[in-house]
């Protein structure tokens, strides 16, 4: 099982931990360094546990400067205040450099993999930070430009991304040098925004919450079989990207075979539900090392409109901007260049 948010059992305060593993409810706090904020979340969880006596709680501090010793001191103080029952069901762990300190025992490797994925995506953090919204807007502009969709209004962009006017206006200001503004105040890309795209690519893992899976069976399945199984499983909100997706937009892509399967997962609420991976193939396990071989890679698409294209066999096609990023991430530079050029040169406008 992988990250999934449950939608129940809120405390009177309106709080509910971010994710659940059986009866263990988990909250992840990334880069929480101060004890004031720590106490605040500890109180929230204690209130919640008092109201949910059959459940347990786990607070994970990821990339925190709080040390184990300081944490123990703080928990001793908390023991004087909190009800012993609630505190006995609450654990606090520190996640540092891929290791956990203070996790409850006997939760097993599957739990650790699940927690890894949760920590990686920093559950509980806002779905899209403002600085990342710029890249979401950039991707949409690229999508429209690659498919020759024509200019768009700021309002349309706000709805497509799911963000405010100042955010869109700010992004368009940053991109002014590559934008064409028409007399009716609509905008579109004038040419390929090379520098901004390179910055997006450099931070792509974080911005797209890239998650990689490798086969540990000793008998990896042909990637086409993964696709067929996903079609059969009818997984929603999943777009095929990467080489396979690029071939949909540019059938003559100069590449034999499919080195890896890329999927774009539409999650406008910021929550990546990766449970489908276990259904797809239980032999696919999360890999942390971005340089380690992977058979399946999943990226989050956080904007309001995924711009996926439906597919008659099931699933959908990820948008061409996602496919381009996938090719570039896979270091298929020649094919990425060819893909970009082919779509730019395309005269006819594909149906939306």
């Amino acid at each position: 099982m992988l990250p999934r948010i449950a939608h129940e059992e809120k405390a009177e305060t309106g709080y509910r931990p971010a994710a659940r593993w059986k009866n263990l409810w988990v909250e992840i706090k990334t880069q929480l360094h101060g004890f004031r904020n720590f106490r605040s979340i500890l109180f929230e969880m204690a209130y919640w546990l008092a109201q949910n006596p059959k459940n347990r709680g786990l607070l994970v501090l990821a990339e925190s400067r709080i040390t184990e010793n300081r944490l123990n001191e703080e928990m001793q103080r908390a023991a004087r205040v909190f009800h012993p029952d609630a505190l006995s069901r609450l654990s606090v762990a520190i996640s540092k450099e891929g290791r956990y300190h203070g996790l409850p025992k006997n939760l097993g490797n599957e739990f650790t993999s699940w927690l890894d994925a949760l920590v990686r995506k920093g559950s509980g953090s806002p779905p899209a930070k403002t600085r990342d919204s710029f890249y979401l807007i950039l991707e949409i502009l690229m999508h429209q430009w690659l498919l020759h969709k024509g200019p768009m209004t700021t309002d349309w962009l706000m709805k497509a991304v799911g963000c405010s006017y100042p955010t869109v206006a700010g992004a368009l200001g940053r991109l002014a040098h590559v934008l064409h503004r028409s007399s009716d105040r609509k905008v579109e890309l004038r040419n390929f925004p090379k520098e901004e795209w390179a910055r997006l690519l450099a931070a792509s893992d974080r911005i797209r919450s890239t998650v990689r899976f490798a086969d540990v069976s000793g008998k990896p399945r042909p990637l086409e079989n993964h696709l067929r199984r996903l079609e059969k499983l009818k997984i929603p909100n999943l777009g095929i990207g990467g080489v396979v997706g690029a071939r949909h937009y540019h059938p003559n892509l100069d590449l034999i075979g499919t080195p890896v399967l890329n999927f774009s997962l539409h999650c406008p609420d910021g929550v990546m539900d990766l449970e489908f991976i276990a259904k797809l193939d239980p032999a696919l396990k999360l890999v942390r090392d971005p340089l380690a071989p992977a058979q399946v890679i999943v990226h989050a698409v956080r904007r309001a409109n995924a711009f996926f294209q439906p597919r008659k066999e099931g699933l959908a096609w990820a948008d061409p901007a996602e496919c381009l990023l996938d090719l570039q991430e896979a270091k298929l530079e020649t094919q990425a260049g060819e893909f970009l050029e082919a779509l730019q040169k395309r005269v006819e406008k594909p149906s939306p």
Binding site: V216, S217, G218, K219, R221, N225, A278, D281, P282, A283
Partner: protein, 286 residues
């Protein structure tokens, strides 16, 4: 070994013989050179259909004994019984070939269709005394729609042997194999994993249809649905217990997976795949 067994058995009963167990699995799943690694001691021969099992069994056993095959006498019920011996105390027909004590042949039969009553014995009267043909609940599944071989006798399909073990061990009983510290369920479910690993996911994702046919045919009443409903329960238990899985992997590495670098982790995900690709669908059938 298939050739030897087929040559020793009268051709008239060849159509009634199905070899099951590791020898059958190895014959179909391993390359010719690799089958030597299947160090089986017992060659299980199922006499089917049940209606002709006694006649076929008598023909086979008498022919083998006349040809110098010798009864295995080391077992608890090693000597032949007589008319007064209760069926449950009768010895099985276990015969060593004339030139070796490394392996032996064992005769068994299938249960009556629809019957599920554990291990049962059917009396087999030979000129040297009384023997018994054992049948188990799911032997009929193992022998279902067996593959013919070039030697005349048939060979149980790997997927049917896997299903028979899955059904047999739906309940994860901690019963040891006599004289060992190996749990029967670990050995049998380990064999399921080995068969699945050797077959590969592209093959076993298509097992659910033949499984459904076999289980409906062998258990024609509503019983089949109850059996199918929790077909993977034992396998799930095995995968959830590292010590048992380790023992299952060890039995595999001494059998079908000998000389192959298959890790416990490989077998675990093979089991998870088998559940996801085939067993869960069977369990969902109503």
């Amino acid at each position: 070994m298939f050739k030897k067994i087929a040559a020793a058995i009268p051709k008239s009963v060849h159509p009634n013989i199905v070899v099951i167990g590791s020898l059958a699995a190895g014959y179909q799943l391993l390359q010719p050179g690799d089958t030597e690694s299947v160090r089986t001691k017992d060659v299980d021969c199922v006499l089917a259909p049940r209606i002709s099992a006694i006649d076929s069994g008598r023909t086979v056993a008498e022919k083998l004994l006349a040809a110098g095959w010798r009864p295995r006498t080391e077992d608890e019920h090693g000597k032949p019984g007589n008319a007064k011996t209760p069926e449950n105390d009768l010895p099985a027909v276990r015969l060593y070939p004339p030139d070796s004590k490394d392996w032996f042949i064992e005769l068994m039969t299938v249960p009556e269709p629809g019957k599920e009553a554990g291990k049962r014995w059917t009396r087999l009267e030979l000129s040297s005394g009384h023997y018994g043909l054992p049948s188990f609940d799911f032997t009929g599944i193992a022998a279902f729609n067996a593959n013919p071989t070039e030697f005349g006798i048939a060979c149980a399909r790997p997927e049917m042997m896997a299903l028979s073990h899955l059904l047999e061990h739906r309940e994860f009983k901690r019963v040891m194999i006599h004289g060992t510290n190996i749990k029967r369920c670990n050995k049998d479910l380990g064999r399921v994993l080995a068969i699945a690993w050797l077959s590969g996911p592209e093959v076993f994702e298509n097992w659910v249809v033949p499984w459904g046919k076999a289980i409906r045919k062998c258990f024609p009443s509503a019983r089949w649905a109850a059996l199918a409903h929790n077909a993977g329960a034992g396998l799930r238990e095995l995968l959830a217990h590292p010590d048992d899985l380790q023992q299952a992997a060890e039995t595999c590495s001494n059998g079908l997976l000998a000389r192959r670098s298959v890790t416990v982790e490989n077998l675990k995900v093979t089991g998870e795949r088998l559940l996801a690709f085939a067993v869960e669908e069977l369990e969902s059938w109503r």
